[in-house]
């Protein structure tokens, strides 16, 4: 799973919203759990690479800290 157990639901929702708006993570339309988690993992890797974080594909505290920073609303990857 791309999400560590220690991350709470609210943070997961925030992360999904971040990746949806800024890294073109598809919306919840796909209800295939496995497909969804691989897509999220891929987008997480893109975001971690962009910010020079350790590229793990998992939602960890370091990645969450960057997601929580105030920023510009334009996507980081060409939408």
């Amino acid at each position: 799973s791309p999400i560590l157990p220690s991350i709470d639901k609210e943070e997961i929702t925030m992360a999904e919203d971040y990746l949806n708006k800024l890294y073109a993570l598809p919306k919840k339309a796909s209800n295939e759990k496995l497909q969804r988690s691989s897509s999220m993992s891929m987008r997480l890797k893109e975001m971690q690479e962009f910010f020079g974080l350790k590229i793990t594909g998992t939602l960890n505290e370091e990645t969450l800290n960057v997601m929580k920073k105030p920023r510009c609303g334009v996507p980081d990857v060409a939408a």
């Binding site: 962009f50 020079g52 350790k54 960057v66 920073k69 105030p70 920023r71 510009c72 609303g73 334009v74």
Partner: protein, 373 residues
């Protein structure tokens, strides 16, 4: 730098802008000034020129809005997304929207500086995408900078000149200051300002930046110092961590700041004399905290002052020549830290490794030994 795919750029150099409404956070004059200076940043280094209009449709329409404001990209309340802008094309292209659920500020720290946010958004309005360079104005995260000394970073200059070329009106007799660049940790000639531990990580300071290196992972993150501690100066002289009080002390000139996590401790900056250093000492070159003896070693030119953290007194018999304490250390020490029982003294682009107990020289390494390329 990065540009929008598909050649999104203005086909003309003379652009118009219009401020449609205002935020209650600032006076009209402050908003006008911030917007004008934010556009001037780009005009200074390119052929682009901006003219303000007060009615009709401008190339760059500027407005403050909250929540869903009809462009398909609703704002999200305080913090989070501060603003957004559209690349050059007809209609909404070039327009910049600012989230008025934020608190915008003209000069001070309490709020997001409108000039900085606007200058970034106008980069998008002109065709630039986000940059991965943490020192760039087009870096996506908001970073507070000193707006009085602001100068467009080189990465952004390269981006806008890739799209539009340089400013043809530069007066060769009055060249602009060279834009600030982002230091490269792989540069073999780089000289670090300071190095310190910080809760198990190693922090390397250089000009406006710091690198964070965790001994347990291979990644090294680079950040603007002010993205962590807006009040801390750039180009610092020295730094050390005191596990005793869980603080990192930052030195620049005769001033000392104390950092506790993300916060700057109350009552700082203090003067060097708070460490019992004599008044004749105007600056320190490096500081090393010895975890075995609780001594703080201040390197001043080629001398060492030893301060006992427990008694809060300077030890007798100091200052001593550096070479008498660290045999073989002849150059000026520019940074120092202790890690896993070894003392690391930086001089120029070299790092000298001493055993902390015997103070014997073990190895001479390159100064990015802990900053893998």
């Amino acid at each position: 730098y990065s540009v929008f795919p598909g050649n999104y750029k203005w086909k003309k150099h003379d652009l118009t802008y219009r401020i449609e409404n205002y935020t209650p956070d600032m006076s009209v004059a402050e908003v006008d000034d911030s917007i004008q200076r934010a556009l001037q940043v780009w005009a200074d280094v390119s052929p682009l020129r901006f003219t303000r209009i007060y009615s009709g449709v401008a190339d760059i329409m500027i407005s403050f809005a909250v929540g869903d404001h009809g462009d398909g990209y609703p704002f999200d309340g305080p913090n989070g997304f501060l603003a957004h802008a559209f690349p050059p094309f007809d209609g909404i292209g070039g327009d910049a929207h600012f989230d008025d659920d934020e608190t915008f500020a003209f000069k001070s720290y309490n709020g997001y500086n409108l000039f900085l946010v606007a200058a970034h958004e106008f980069g998008h309005s002109l065709g630039l995408e986000h940059s991965q360079d943490p020192g760039a104005l087009m870096y996506p995260n908001y970073v507070h900078r000193d707006v009085d000394t602001f100068s467009l970073p080189q990465d952004d200059v390269n981006g806008i000149q890739f799209l539009y070329g340089p400013n043809p009106d530069v007066n060769p007799d009055k060249p602009k200051p060279t834009p600030p660049t982002t230091p490269d940790r792989c540069d073999p000639k780089m000289v670090l300002d300071a190095v310190t531990m910080l809760r198990g990580e190693i922090m390397f300071f250089k000009s406006r930046f710091m690198w964070r290196s965790s001994p347990f992972s291979s990644t090294v993150e680079q950040h603007l110092i002010k993205s962590f501690w807006p009040q801390i100066p750039e180009n610092i002289d020295a730094a050390f961590e005191s596990p005793f009080d869980d603080k990192v002390y930052i030195f620049k000139g005769q001033k000392v700041w104390a950092i506790y996590g993300y916060d700057v401790a109350q009552g700082y900056p203090k003067s060097l004399s708070s460490f019992n250093l004599p008044n004749k000492v105007k600056k320190v070159d490096a500081v090393l905290y010895d975890e075995e003896t609780y001594k703080i070693l201040f390197f001043v030119n080629n001398k060492i002052y030893s301060y006992d953290e427990q008694t809060r007194r300077m030890d007798k018999g100091y200052p001593k020549p550096v070479e008498n304490v660290f045999l073989g250390m002849t150059g000026k020490v520019t940074a120092a830290f202790q890690f896993k029982g070894f003392n690391y003294l930086f001089s120029g682009s070299k790092m000298f490794e001493f055993s902390s107990y015997h103070k014997k020289l073990f190895r001479v390494l390159s100064n990015n030994y802990f900053l893998p390329c």
